[in-house]
Amino acid sequence: MDVMVLVPVLAMLGVAFVRFDCAKGRGLACGAAVVVVFAAFLGVRAMVPDEALFFASEAARKVRGQIRLFQKAGQGGGVLLLTGSSVATHACDSRQLQKLLRENGAGTRVVQLSAQGANHFERTFLMEAFFRGLGPGARDALLAENVRHLDEVFNAYDKDPLYLMDREQYRARAKVYLSPDYALAAWRAWRAGRAPAESFREELRASLPVASMLADRMLQNRFGVGAFSDMNLRLLDKRADAFFPLEGSKGGFDYRATADAFRGDLAGRPEKSVPAVPGWRTARDFRKARTGAWIDSEAWVGFPAIEPHRRAWQESFAGVVGGIIGPPSGGEMEAFLDAGNWYDGVHPTGRGAELSTKWLARELLREFGVRQ
């Protein structure tokens, strides 16, 4: 907290000391004055990138951290952009991955743009913010190289494009990326991803909360609500890492039962169900429209998970979409089957993340070997 607190204090003093003596009502002129001020604000706002205005947000700090690492990693060799949610955040140590790739002859630099609870729109935003943040020179140099995008496959986010947005902490941060076009795309993806309602009333009951939530976040985005709420200019330079190793295990998580269920599932899986992913497709189309010009190729990754339904989704997803790395085969999963590797059925601990990163490095090297 620093001198920025003086700005609202001055506003308070300004409003407190002013007295109105306006005998005649000039409603139209006053309304026009308010509209002009708000329009001018919105005009200036439109020129400021979201990550610059919301400089203290987790997304902005993460992007700054990755830009810094990227700049330190030198040039050439191509770039791998990894996006995802908490699974990628806890399962992939991007520095270790980059080191492993380099040690094995692939000079690819790894940019880790995953974030806890990040849905597909937030991931798209993080990618955009990364490219914007590089600046024109570095961006052009990067685009001259081979840019690969690797996105996490996870049933919850793939089925529901607005997954977790009903929780306060995720809803609160959505204002950072829900600009009008993002909000519209999120609305379309949500609509595409759900079964049609039986009646107009049902439709209204389901869509009204989502529409109002998106509209509210979109307005907050445009008016920069909360952009300076930390009142701390030192956060302008604050960076956050994208990989967080977990320790211990989640309360209530029963490793043995989950591992037994996983083994049983591997032994006799019923026929794969084909996932319906219209919401995901809409979100993907939006991402391609926003970042397609910067990306040379895209692929998906199904990180190791021991909850059977997560893995089932990854396998089914591979059947529908293709181009997916993982999930690890039954044999490969043996190395992961240890209580010390799992925080819960889907998030590895730091030790599990090391294994997971090594597995991903092997898969990528194989992939690059085929494609390079």
Partner: protein
């Protein structure tokens, strides 16, 4: 619905222009009556029935009281009417508290009663509109206002949306006459309403909510915190509760002004007070006056001797504490203030009797400064049981504060000291002067609109995105 929400903006944009577009109260009152229920029902529509029930009960009881012959029968009618109102309040607010207290008291003697609490949801603002209903009935009984035979008008008064859920508690004689005369659009009042609303919006969304975000984690788990952190949390709450409640009151007054009504002020810079008596003349004025007129004075006030006066003060403040919430912490808070008010009165009386010669100017200022520091330190300390989650947490916090003041407080890295100190000082010592200073007078409405729009945009940038409920909603 809360004032700092998009829903309220839409609500106000419909209600206020429609109100003024309607030519007479014949249509305006039904509009306000309906608007009150929409405003209240937005939070939980089931409780609109409760509000309607209280209005019906108050209307019927008012007719009963007015129709009873003056004297004992009217008094009995009033007492029964108040008892009905208090029964509603007691059921929703104190049933679970009573069950839990009796159960734990018996458990202390090793007797398990096996009673379970009913998990009754407390309807927002029930304490406020019940108190207003009682003030209406008492005024009718005393003959200071005529009984309101128009059901709709009484409903508008009791449920008037600007002050419905967190006050100020408006007396019937302050508001019903306003409803009896047709409102005429007053540009100056409208602008004053806008100014107050924006000032309250800044108080609440920027200062109170940002302080809440900084201090809530400390209050939630005070164990193991450094003395400096705990002191920061106490100082932060000292500012937060003021900005939160004074901000709400300003917004309520402003919203009423938009419709051409006036509501009395609820705060008069309480952190300027140099005595506890003065503090209660400045803090939550509508409640202080209500407690004085409907509890302290009926109990005998200061008319029955010193000892009875202090007993009345204690009883009033203990019940005032309990009004804030069904918790022993609030009772303790009220008791501390009751004791301090008694000490304050004894001190003043003795000084007057002693007739000491007037001090020098420097001595007078030093005395005022010392009294101010002492009063505000006391007020701040009393906020600890008010805010703490439990009595045990209060003890932990006082221990940490003691460590802080003996120089063993550790550090509070990252605590927003500027936010905790600068706005409250600016408000107490600068904004308080705005009432006596002429200030900048704006005669061109367009300039006023520009200024307020800029202030709102500043609030947007500095406020938190998520809605933080007003503290007094829980009361």
């Amino acid at each position: 619905m809360i004032f700092n929400s998009l829903a309220f903006l839409c609500f106000a944009l419909v209600v206020v222009p429609t109100f003024w577009a309607l030519r007479s109260d014949r249509w305006r009152h039904p509009l306000l009556f309906a608007a009150n229920f929409v405003f209240y029902g937005w939070w939980d529509w089931r409780f609109t029935g409760l509000l309607l029930g209280v209005v019906v009960m108050s209307w019927g009881c008012g007719l009963w009281v007015a129709g009873s012959p003056a004297g004992g029968r009217r008094r009995a009618a009033l007492l029964w009417s108040c008892a009905f109102q208090l029964a509603v309040l007691g059921y929703f607010k104190y049933t679970d508290f009573f069950i839990a207290s009796v159960r734990s008291a018996f458990a202390g003697f090793g007797v398990e009663l096996g009673w379970t609490t009913l998990n009754i949801i407390l309807p927002a603002g029930v304490s406020f509109y019940i108190f207003q209903a009682i003030s209406y009935l008492a005024s009718v009984s005393a003959g200071s206002i005529p009984v309101e035979r128009n059901f709709l008008r009484l409903g508008v008064y009791l449920g008037f949306f600007p002050h419905l859920v967190a006050g100020p508690i408006i007396r019937a004689h302050q508001f019903l006459p306003q409803l009896a005369s047709a409102r005429v659009f007053d540009t100056a009042l409208f602008w004053e309403g806008c100014r107050k609303f924006v000032l309250g919006f800044l108080y609440k969304t920027v200062f109170a909510d940002n302080l809440a975000a900084a201090i809530n984690p400390i209050w939630a788990a005070p164990n193991g915190r450094s003395g400096a952190e705990v002191f920061g949390a106490v100082l932060g709450f000292y500012g937060q509760i003021y900005f939160d409640f004074a901000g709400y009151s300003l917004m309520a007054i402003g919203a009423a002004n938009w419709l051409g009504y006036t509501i009395p002020e609820n705060f008069r810079f309480p952190y300027l007070a140099a005595s506890v008596v003065d503090f209660w003349r400045r803090w939550h004025i509508s409640l202080s006056l209500w407690l004085r007129d409907y509890l302290y004075i009926p109990l005998g006030g200061n008319r029955l001797g010193e000892a009875r006066r202090f007993a009345n003060l204690m009883a009033t403040m203990l019940l005032g504490g309990l009004w804030h919430g069904a918790s022993w912490n609030f009772v303790l808070w009220g008791g501390l203030h009751g004791a301090a008010l008694s000490v304050n009165h004894i001190w003043s009386t003795r000084r007057e009797r002693a007739g000491t010669r007037p001090p020098s100017v420097a001595g007078k200022w030093a005395g005022v400064a010392a009294a101010w520091v002492l009063t505000q330190a006391f007020v701040m300390a009393c906020w600890v049981p008010f805010r703490a989650e439990s009595f045990g947490d209060s003890v932990v916090i006082f221990q940490a504060l003691a460590a802080f003041f003996i120089g063993n407080g550790g550090s509070a890295a990252g605590f927003p000291w500027m936010l905790a100190v600068v706005p409250i000082l600016a408000d107490t010592f600068l904004v308080s002067r705005s009432e006596s200073t002429r200030g900048a007078v704006i005669r061109k409405p367009v300039l006023g609109a520009l200024l307020l729009a800029l202030a709102v945009l500043t609030a947007f940038l500095f406020m938190r995105g998520e809605l933080v409920p007003f503290i007094y909603f829980q009361f």
